[in-house]
Amino acid sequence: MTQSKDFHIVAETGIHARPATLLVQAASKFTSDVTLSYQGKDVNLKSIMGVMSLGVGQGADVTIKTDGDDEESAMAAIVEAMETEGLAE
């Protein structure tokens, strides 16, 4: 059962290089597939170059999906990373 969650990006810098790294590092700890979607484009959240290519700025609405054995804990870790960094609500 795939986990899916929407995030509204509030951070002034958007998902810039440094926050992208933190999200990727959070996602990379899990075996589940983690996908970030924005404006109809999907990228692997474990790929830093992919995440940076999307150009997710302040005010953007994105969707994150996790799919796999540890999909719930992966989603929890990403939510935590988003909150700790003040990236999204």
Binding site: Q25, G55, G59
Partner: protein
């Protein structure tokens, strides 16, 4: 960390000095890199005389001594020729007085000379003695020169430091300075020099193959006697996903040796990853970064442009 000492013979051999007298006293030991210019002492003022230093006599001292009487001159040189004084050095090929020869011989101190000026000799001696007498530390790792940049590879035993270095040497991208044990000393406040232990010079140990004499096998251009350490690449066994490796190359990680901080990159070693080419890329990135090339900055600028574009698209979609 060990404080080394240098014999007068080593000083002679390494700074191209000639021996005028006291050939039998060359085993005298030098314990400080500071050099004394005993100009005021010639006048009899010995309050701040530093007898443990090499005494360098140049034109000033020599011309002054020509105006002194025999007894007076002998007395001054006898005071200078202290039991701890390692050597007298006379610059610019100047004549050496009988009084100096007598006083030095009585105290069993050699007299050395050179045609170079005092300033040049002073600089050569300070450079050599400074290096030899500086505090030393040896580090477990491999030091190679990659495109002219001293790269210290560290990491646990068996992780593949030597094998990665060997691959770069085989590709003519690197030269070996020291394998397994790197002797490091501080040349100045922010410069560390690494060199091999004498016994291990030019040697590499490859597991399953044995000892290789790199100079014999790959030629004289494949080795270097020493290198300034510019970068530390630490090989780590952790899986890429587990540890927080520097993904963007903007971490300010450093390795401190003898109080000097050098840039450190922690590189994961995983099957299928060519460690040698990663080290090469790291060295090239470090060099170009020093030239002002910043790929991350370019990427961030492009991202900012993209974000502005996307924001417009988002707004248009909301109005629809």
């Amino acid at each position: 960390m060990a404080q080394n000492s240098v014999t007068v013979k080593q000083l002679v051999d390494n700074t191209r000095l000639e021996i005028v007298a006291g050939k039998q006293y060359l085993e005298r030991v030098i314990t400080t890199a500071d050099i004394s210019r005993p100009g005021l002492e010639m006048t009899g003022y010995f309050n701040y005389y530093a007898p443990e230093r090499v005494q360098l006599l140049g034109i000033t001292e020599t011309s002054f001594s020509e105006r002194m009487g025999h007894e007076e001159l002998l007395m001054v040189f006898r005071r200078m020729a202290d039991p701890v004084t390692p050597a007298f050095v006379v610059s610019t090929g100047l004549p050496i007085s009988e009084e100096l020869k007598q006083a030095a011989d009585e105290a069993k101190i050699p007299i050395l000379t050179s045609t170079l000026t005092s300033s040049r000799i002073l600089s050569n001696m300070t450079y050599y003695l400074g290096g030899q007498l500086a505090p030393r530390e040896n580090v477990h790792g491999v030091l190679i020169d990659v495109h002219g940049l001293g790269v210290l590879i560290t990491g646990d035993a068996g992780i593949g430091k030597t094998e990665a270095a060997l691959e770069l040497i085989q590709q003519d991208k690197a030269r070996l300075v020291a394998d397994d044990r790197v002797d490091i000393y501080q040349e100045d406040e922010e410069r560390l020099i690494g060199e091999p232990n004498e016994v291990l010079r030019n040697m590499m140990e490859i597991r399953g193959v044995g000892i290789i004499d790199v100079q014999q096998v790959y030629g004289a251009v494949s080795v270097r006697s020493h290198a300034t350490i510019a970068l530390n690449i630490h090989l780590s066994n952790g899986k890429i996903g587990e540890a927080n490796f520097d993904r963007l190359g903007n971490d300010n990680d450093t390795l401190e040796i003898l109080g000097v901080k050098i840039k450190r990159m922690v590189v994961p070693v995983t099957p299928g990853r060519n460690t040698a080419s990663v080290i090469d890329a790291a060295a090239v990135k470090f060099r170009t970064a020093n030239m002002g090339i910043d790929a991350l900055k370019t990427l961030e600028e492009r991202m900012s442009v993209e974000m502005v574009k996307n924001e417009k698209i988002d707004l248009e979609n909301k109005h629809d």
